[in-house]
């Protein structure tokens, strides 16, 4: 993996992470610190899965 692919991967995961955190904030009703912690970790799981899924489909 060269520097450029690593950058693209990082950007893709970061983008998904931000979008999914936003989705979590939309779904919940009241925001507190624990919600932030749980929401960001769930969104990170989702973001990594999204990247892995796109790679699995792309690599053929």
């Amino acid at each position: 993996m060269n520097a450029r692919t690593a950058l693209v991967t990082a950007l893709e995961v970061l983008g998904w992470w931000a979008a999914l955190t936003l989705l979590w904030l939309v779904l919940i009703s009241t925001v507190d610190t624990l919600e932030w912690a749980v929401g960001t970790s769930a969104a990170l799981v989702g973001a990594v899965t999204a990247r892995a899924a796109r790679r699995a489909v792309g690599a053929r």
């Binding site: 989705l23 904030l25 779904l27 009703s29």
Partner: protein, 150 residues
């Protein structure tokens, strides 16, 4: 009962009733379309019920139906691709009409809710529902060409 639940009663009775009738009778191409539209017809009803009961938590039901209903249709589109290839369903008019119904319900509920997090959640549900159903109809009419044993 209030106006919202009365509207939901009529909408569910007519809409889901038609979907049940469509899935029980007719050729396979009509049955898959009815199955696809059943989720698109039931989810706005669930949103109306959430508003009528005054319980925002019930929106989660519509969210899950909007997410998983089209996935269920994709299952049929994928595994019945061979059966549907010779006789693909063509029901764009009905599909678009049902999508319009979903959009109207979501927009009315948004107007009643007012700006805020709840309104964005309704819009997310609406987008997932309409997008999902349009993609599922596309998948039914030749979304899996050259199907083999994959």
């Amino acid at each position: 009962m209030n106006g919202w639940t009365w509207t939901a009663t009529i909408a569910l009775g007519v809409g889901v009733g038609a979907a049940v009738w469509g899935v029980v009778t007719g050729p396979l191409r009509r049955r898959v379309v009815a199955q696809n539209l059943s989720s698109a017809l039931a989810a706005p009803g669930l949103l109306l019920l959430a508003q009528g009961y005054g319980r925002p938590a019930y929106v989660d039901l519509a969210l899950l139906l909007a997410l998983l209903g089209p996935v269920g249709t994709l299952v049929f589109a994928r595994l019945l691709a061979d059966d549907l290839a010779g006789d693909p369903p063509r029901a764009w008019a009905v599909t678009l009409a049902v999508a319009g119904y979903g959009a109207v319900v979501v927009l009315v509920l948004c107007a009643v809710t007012g700006p805020g997090r709840a309104m964005v959640k309704l819009l997310v549900v609406g987008a997932l529902l309409i997008g999902g159903n349009l993609v599922a109809s596309r998948a039914l009419s030749g979304g899996f060409p050259g199907s083999r044993r994959g």
